[in-house]
Symmetry: C2
Subunit: 156 residues, 2 copies
């Protein structure tokens, strides 16, 4: 740590572009999602794994792990989504501590209405702008950076 390695001009530019791109891309996608389907990004994140599960039911613990949230955040958010009729709480028969989260009909309708538009947005704002070679590079880079971040976790 004695000699800090400052970003050179090129790196600084890439880093700024990356931060700005994220900021604008997230904002744009969330905006469209909310406008077109009334769902927040958080709602969408919760609904996707539920809609992809055969019964539309998931244990809260698994749902939380899947989307990288802690139990508290999920509990709060489920409460709000339950009030809006998107999901329902059910007992867990296998473990009395557990909670099963069920996708309601309204919830399924919401995610089915939102998903196509969202996919179209991701295509038009991101993938449409990439060549095949660039896509391959991004895949490699993102995986490598992610792998490096998550393998650090296990060292504890």
């Amino acid at each position: 740590m004695a000699e800090p390695r400052w970003l050179d001009e090129r790196q600084a530019h890439v880093w700024q572009s990356y931060l700005h791109m994220n900021q604008h891309l997230y904002a744009e996608l969330e905006d469209q999602l909310t406008r077109e389907s009334g769902l927040s990004g958080a709602d969408y994140k919760v609904l996707v794994p539920l809609s992809e599960t055969p019964g539309g039911v998931l244990r809260a613990r698994e749902l939380a792990t899947e989307i990288g949230w802690d139990r508290s955040r999920l509990s709060h958010h489920i409460s709000r989504m339950e009030r809006r009729g998107l999901v329902a709480r059910e007992e867990c028969e296998a473990d009395a501590r557990g909670l099963m989260v069920r996708l309601t009909k309204a919830g399924r309708k919401a995610i089915q209405g939102a998903a196509p538009n969202h996919a179209e947005s991701v295509q038009s704002y991101f993938f449409d702008l990439l060549s095949n070679a660039e896509l391959a590079t991004l895949a490699a880079v993102f995986d490598r950076v992610l792998e490096n971040l998550t393998s650090d976790d296990e060292e504890i």
Copy 2:
């Protein structure tokens, strides 16, 4: 919008990697920043432009524009940072509506202590993992995606 263009397998994988990478990278950088210097990401974002300005003073409006915040958010955050002695509010002589935000000695000390560690983190978690060719590709891609997003704004 009739025929939604779903993500193919490759695209879906890249998109997931991108989202996860962002999540972990942001979390890790913010964690290190907070642990090592007691500054949040928001604090850092505010302090950087101030420390790069000759006098260490910026008009609130410009500061807000620079970091992409609205006036309300900046006002709230300046209040909290002022309480902690990182910045100070001053009158704007040129425009009586305006507010000048001044970096205090403590604020300068904080950002000077935080910046080297932050740069080192960015290097080790991101740039160290990239080849020169990959860096060039990222630069091109990020700029293109960003340009596409921000040029849309002007069409209004």
